[in-house]
Symmetry: C2
Subunit: 396 residues, 2 copies
Amino acid sequence: MFAKRMTNIQESFIREILKVTQQPDMISFAGGLPNPKFFPVEAISIASDKVLQEHGYEALQYSTTDGYRPLREYIAQRYADRYDLTVSADEILITNGSQQGLDLLGKLFLNPADKLLLEQPSYLGAIQAFSFYEPQFIAIPLLEDGLNIEVLTQAVKQHQPKLSYIIPNFQNPTGATYSLEKRQQIADLLIQHGGLLIEDNPYGELIFEGEPLSPLRTYLGEQGIMLGTFSKIIAPSFRLGWVCANRKIIAKLTIAKQAADLHTNYLAQRIIYQYLQDNNLDAHLAVIKEAYQHQRDVMLGMIKQHFPAEVSYIKPTGGMFIWAALPSGYSAQAMLQQAIQENVVFVPGHPFFVPDGGENCMRLSFSNTSPADVETGIQRLGAVMTRFLQDDVVYF
Amino acid sequence: MFAKRMTNIQESFIREILKVTQQPDMISFAGGLPNPKFFPVEAISIASDKVLQEHGYEALQYSTTDGYRPLREYIAQRYADRYDLTVSADEILITNGSQQGLDLLGKLFLNPADKLLLEQPSYLGAIQAFSFYEPQFIAIPLLEDGLNIEVLTQAVKQHQPKLSYIIPNFQNPTGATYSLEKRQQIADLLIQHGGLLIEDNPYGELIFEGEPLSPLRTYLGEQGIMLGTFSKIIAPSFRLGWVCANRKIIAKLTIAKQAADLHTNYLAQRIIYQYLQDNNLDAHLAVIKEAYQHQRDVMLGMIKQHFPAEVSYIKPTGGMFIWAALPSGYSAQAMLQQAIQENVVFVPGHPFFVPDGGENCMRLSFSNTSPADVETGIQRLGAVMTRFLQDDVVYF
């Protein structure tokens, strides 16, 4: 009954885990959720009132597919201010979260069996969105400072991928951030061999240390496509994200979006814009970053104290995630069952790998857990791990 | 560079016309827009405040893909109250307007060259959404009381379409409504031959005369898929619609939606639900219906008075549209250019036809034009028409 493209599609494993997290006393490092404590509820309420009182009849009507022009100009200006990157509002399409950007880009570019290059591991939602268009995934190992350049170079030469997809800042799931050198190397390679690069950047504003590094688009020009979102910096429920790409791509994407849902919730666009006009986003971000950084520090400290020495992990300099690896041969998925018994959960690494891998890995989110719960949760997890690694069972 | 599916995709012609409607003194019968005068701005503002004050932190967080459960229960209850039709909230998926339902259904069911049966003429946005999945369209002539049953019967036997798509109430673009007899005949035919029927119902609540007729789903059971929306009864900017289908389909659609945009704006779902709790929707609808009915009556009266006798049209019993036809051989598209000179616009019929047809037809929307402007606009259009038909040029 269903289309062929549905054959290999499965429900997100993470959403399954999230059901367990509802249990009382469960400490969850599973969800990639921002901490609601920092949602600007009062300021959003004021912005909402203002928009409805001053522009209510217009704000409730149908609107244009490309999105509210002043919001697109704000986004363009932020690229200029933050990254010294000049883009036009015409190069920005407002989407239902950056997730919709992934879907629309897949729809626009991917024929079945087209080559799509991505990080190993990569964002689960991207793998899922692209899978509907049945590409051939070319997965390149991700190191702490970005893609493995040797493997990438060979793959680009061999496969000439039409599209590449990366998350250069505080990657999901690994927390890894690309060095400036790797950004330039990757851009050089793609300029030489052609192909478009999608750089997804949901976490870039959540930087704890140092200065933000240039997007690859800086070097790539029209070969670069950027995705962004307000989900992690204001609130996710609005589903407000964007695609920034050259005008030709945006024109086609706009047609695809028109067919997909006519336009993004316009009242939400007006409210977020009003919020951005009346509030200091950087001051708001400073509060979030300080809290997340503290939670990261607590988690790293507890990991050092309670995880067995043979468990490795990446120290992120921003974002929401720490990536840890059991010694090779131990299954994080198997360990998860024991962790649930002890009221602590994480996401096993396996679903982030295409076609497979990462069985010994796990993603730990620190963004939505209080420092006290981080302490308790990592203690529990460390105890589970110690016991688990003492077993003689090797799983694969 | 682009995927093969993009080859035959074009921007909506209607959106192009809408640009002209911005000109001063232009009277537009082109857009399918609800009248913003009736948007419940104050009540939405109160609902928004209440949700943010009472549930702000939750309402701004990520949410489930299927949608806010109480809103889904409300929709199920309305099917029971209005059509005596029992559906479960589990059979309802909240989407970004019913337009997203069309896209997700295309994604779920359509392989390239699969047979998709639809009305001739049909909703432009549906043609556009489905076109991305490259089906073979089987277009069945739509009469004033529904599809031509003889042609339909033959087409179903010959093509065994996997999917059929109709708008049984106050259809877009024709305003036609299916008789109860045709509903039963079509359902019988599909029960006999198999295949799913999507019945889109954006205008069903805008009924001016008589009692609402049963959805085809009443007879079709699990072969029936219903689309609905709050766009025409509350406000379109929220992009809140739904798909109602059997659980197996909803489960797969939910996975497709998760990949497409994770979930629909959750704050919007909470606000609309709060609005529905605190206000009387039927009283609100009574006001809209009275106004639209009056505008329809004025338009029909002016058409009778000012259109040449050889121009035919359908009298709708609800909704937003009147469909008119010049004598065969005259091009409404060509006439539109002259109408624009006289500051009145409509949508020519051609784009609603797959693969082509309707060159002499036009859609006139009465929902978003004041009675005074309806009078002036139809006078202008009648004069243009009279002059146009006196020319000897026959266009096709």
